[in-house]
Symmetry: C2
Subunit: 363 residues, 2 copies
Amino acid sequence: MRPEVIHVSLGNAQTIPIWFASLTELPSYCESVDLRIGPCILITDTNLVPLYLDQVKTSLLDSGWGPTTEIIIPSGEASKSADVLQSIYDQTLQSGLDRQTPIFALGGGVIGDLAGFAAATLLRGLPLVHLPTSLIAQVDSSIGGKTGINHRIGKNLIGAFYQPHLVLTDLDLLQSLPELEWTSGLAEVVKHGFIADADFFTYLSSNWDAILQRDNEQVQRMVIHAARIKASIVSKDEKESSLRAILNFGHTFAHSIERVAGYGQFTHGEAVALGMRAATKVSSLIHPNLPHHLIDSFLLKLPVRNSIGDISIDALIQAMYYDKKVMAGQLRLILIRDIGDAYVHDQVSEDLIAQGWESIMQS
Amino acid sequence: MRPEVIHVSLGNAQTIPIWFASLTELPSYCESVDLRIGPCILITDTNLVPLYLDQVKTSLLDSGWGPTTEIIIPSGEASKSADVLQSIYDQTLQSGLDRQTPIFALGGGVIGDLAGFAAATLLRGLPLVHLPTSLIAQVDSSIGGKTGINHRIGKNLIGAFYQPHLVLTDLDLLQSLPELEWTSGLAEVVKHGFIADADFFTYLSSNWDAILQRDNEQVQRMVIHAARIKASIVSKDEKESSLRAILNFGHTFAHSIERVAGYGQFTHGEAVALGMRAATKVSSLIHPNLPHHLIDSFLLKLPVRNSIGDISIDALIQAMYYDKKVMAGQLRLILIRDIGDAYVHDQVSEDLIAQGWESIMQS
């Protein structure tokens, strides 16, 4: 495949390139955004070390980069913590970095958010390069500059908007993703269709079997298209003052599931798929013409857990109030009027929300 | 005095107003920048609680603000720590804030940096209002968006550039500052003359006695002029890619003194006065026409400690390598060619730096 590129254009004349190419070509893409060849920091997780670390490191060293400071984080959401962040600060500062020392974030959403927030806050900002390895990271979390860690009160409550210099997305990595990561990542891909692009939803529906089997051509087409939707939304509203909020479709429910069930009990993609079904149910109560069952049955085709079991609805609703999108104590939700047409709905009643939760209590 | 205002104009069409007016007028200035009247967070330190907290709180409550979450930090540099930051996160998140809940930072440089960094990183950014109470904060740290905390390896190594919505500077507060804070704050004022404004240095020299005695009219004139210099430099280079670095004149030495002597042994202003003398000495070795003794004798008039005693020069030099301005292991310093004309000098030799240190070993 010829390398493709998407440009995320931001307000202040800043443009972030997202290249789709092999990880081994990292040095030449770094050069194209004028990163200083020299010492650098590589942050990745324990699962990825045997898969990609040597490959990335060798390609850097062969092109004159180094020394590299390697920081290996335990894989999983629990690493988005103040303690792990502090250990990144300790290790990087001990290595003697300066403001031109880039951080390479090699991993999925957890590594991107964590390493991105470290880059945002070390010396008030180091150059950052995202090397997304998971499907969620490639279509969503590596694009748009959201970084952060969790707090016991809720997910992503500590963080910053911080843009990378470059995103290098290697689509071949998706072929070796564990099945559960692949299928749960598809939830975020589908979300892009629901909120902003009905044609994309149609395309996904028509090619769903090939996609589930990771047909190479369909995977490339799907990921690049989904990344383009995300880039377009971010370009219009970097700091989430309005439009960008629609990307949170299903996420207020999802965060609540993850929080009440305990982080790690559901994958983020599973929680998002469930959350989108709940949000679709609520949407259909307000917009009766919404093809609710079409969406619901499509999401049920995802081979992931499709009910939350017997978690208390009261606890789930209570947890929603800690969401960042809560304004002055009112529950705001992202709802859809139709496929491809999402919006922010203020003051959704708890009664409607409870019906949303009930719709995903059992499969 | 009629309220004066300075506007800090930033690249992305953002403008930060710095108002010089009474603290009690805070609500009307908040309204002028469209902050949402409602819940808010007040962060201040133990020393300031008996002086100003009630006054600020009452003026807010009287104008319909509230409830207020008050966070009281132990006064002193040691509070710029990861632990204190975490306690701010815990207290604010427990209070149930949202993205429109502003943080009012009532205090000197420590509170401004710490509360500013909390505002930068809570929910990826809350509205921030600086209410600077010290001289250093009024002329320097409240202007320009630098926020952060210390790391055991060095000062301000963790942080972010984050602009306030508003700075409200009450010049009357300076009259009740402890003498040591006043005199050590003057070091930063003088710095603005050295680096960017020879006329301002002349003005300070001519009115020095009145200023030391805090003559009301001279204090107002001096603070507003010094704030204007800072605002102008920040407007030209918000992220310190070039020009803004000159504001660090004396600071690589100063941070080294604070680090090696132990934080709190020297006030920041004392360390900066000493650091500027060392930097001036180094400057004079490279630029023989610099009126080195004029500057040195002026700085010696500051009634603060004027030598570092018998700290090891080797340890001081070693500590300079941890400074954020060190590029790829080379010591960069801000030097002056003449009064009002500072620049970044790359690769200063350790021999010259040692001579700088020697010049402030004894008074």
